[in-house]
Symmetry: C2
Subunit: 134 residues, 2 copies
Amino acid sequence: MSKKNKLLLSGCPVAFGLNIFGDRWSLLIIREMMLNGKSTNSQFQSIEEGIATNILADRLRHLEEEGVVTKERDPDNRRSFIYALTQKGRALAPVVAEIILWSGENDERPFAKREAFLKVKKDREAFIEEIKSA
Amino acid sequence: MSKKNKLLLSGCPVAFGLNIFGDRWSLLIIREMMLNGKSTNSQFQSIEEGIATNILADRLRHLEEEGVVTKERDPDNRRSFIYALTQKGRALAPVVAEIILWSGENDERPFAKREAFLKVKKDREAFIEEIKSA
DNA sequence: AAAATTAGCTTGCATTATGCAAGTAAAACC
DNA sequence: GGTTTTACTTGCATAATGCAAGCTAATTTT
C-alpha cells in the first residue's frame, strides 16, 4: 500500500480504511497479533500464508506510520523489536470479527478452521472486549 | 484477485474473506451497491476513486464466481447488465459497517465524508437490516 | 575474543497485478 | 443506415509482489 492514488483523496470512509489495511497482508498481520499473540518480525514470518520479508517490512512500516501498531525494542533481546497494536489498531477488532463471522458462515471447505468463528459467534462482544482490553 | 496463492489453502477465515474481497476495489464496488444503489458496469465506472474498465470487469467476474453478486440482463435495456448483491453479498453489510465506523472514528481529514458514518453510528442494526432486506 | 547464530531487515531481479488508451461487438436510437 | 450506448477486451506501460541472497547489529557459543 505504498501508492498515493486517488483512494486517498476520496473522502469515503470505506476507501480510507482500505488505504490502511485493504491489501493482501495487513489484516493477516493484525490477525496474528489479535488471535495468536505474535509480536515480532520473525513470528510474522512464520505465518501460515507465507509473507515475503520485504513485504512484511513494508507493511509493518506502513501500519506503524498509520498509528495502528507501535514498534519498540525488546528489552529482553535487543536485536528484536516488539510490534504491538495501538488503541487504534485494537479498534479494528470488530472488523476482524465480522470478517470471521462472514467467512465462517460461507466457507464450506473441509479444511476450514472454525475455532475462531465459533468463538466469535458464541460471544462477539467478549471476543472484541478481550482484544480491546489487551 | 485472480491469483491462486497460499491464502486459498490456509483454512483461516480472515484469509478466506480476503481472497474474495481483500483487494483495492471489491469492497468499493460492494459499497456502491449497498450505499449508492449502483448496479451496472457504467455506473461502477463512475465511482469517485476511478477504476479501470478491465479491472472492473475482472472484479465483477470474480465476485460473481464467488457468489457475492449476480449478473442479469436488464430487461429494459438489453445491452446492459444488472449486477445485484446475493444474500451472501448482503451479508457483508456488517463488515462494511464496521469499516465505516472505524474510519469515521479515525479519519481526521477535513474532506472526510461523515454521512455514512453518522448513519451507521446512529443505528448500526437499522443500517444492516436495510441492506439485508433489500 | 573469535566464530557462529539470530533477528530484522535491504537489495536485485523475476513475475504478476494494475492502470491507461484504444478498439470491438451487440443493442438501441435517430 | 449511421450514430450512440453499453460492456466489455486488448496491448502495452507502470507498479506491486514474491523470491533468494546478502547485510548489519546483537547475542550466544566455543
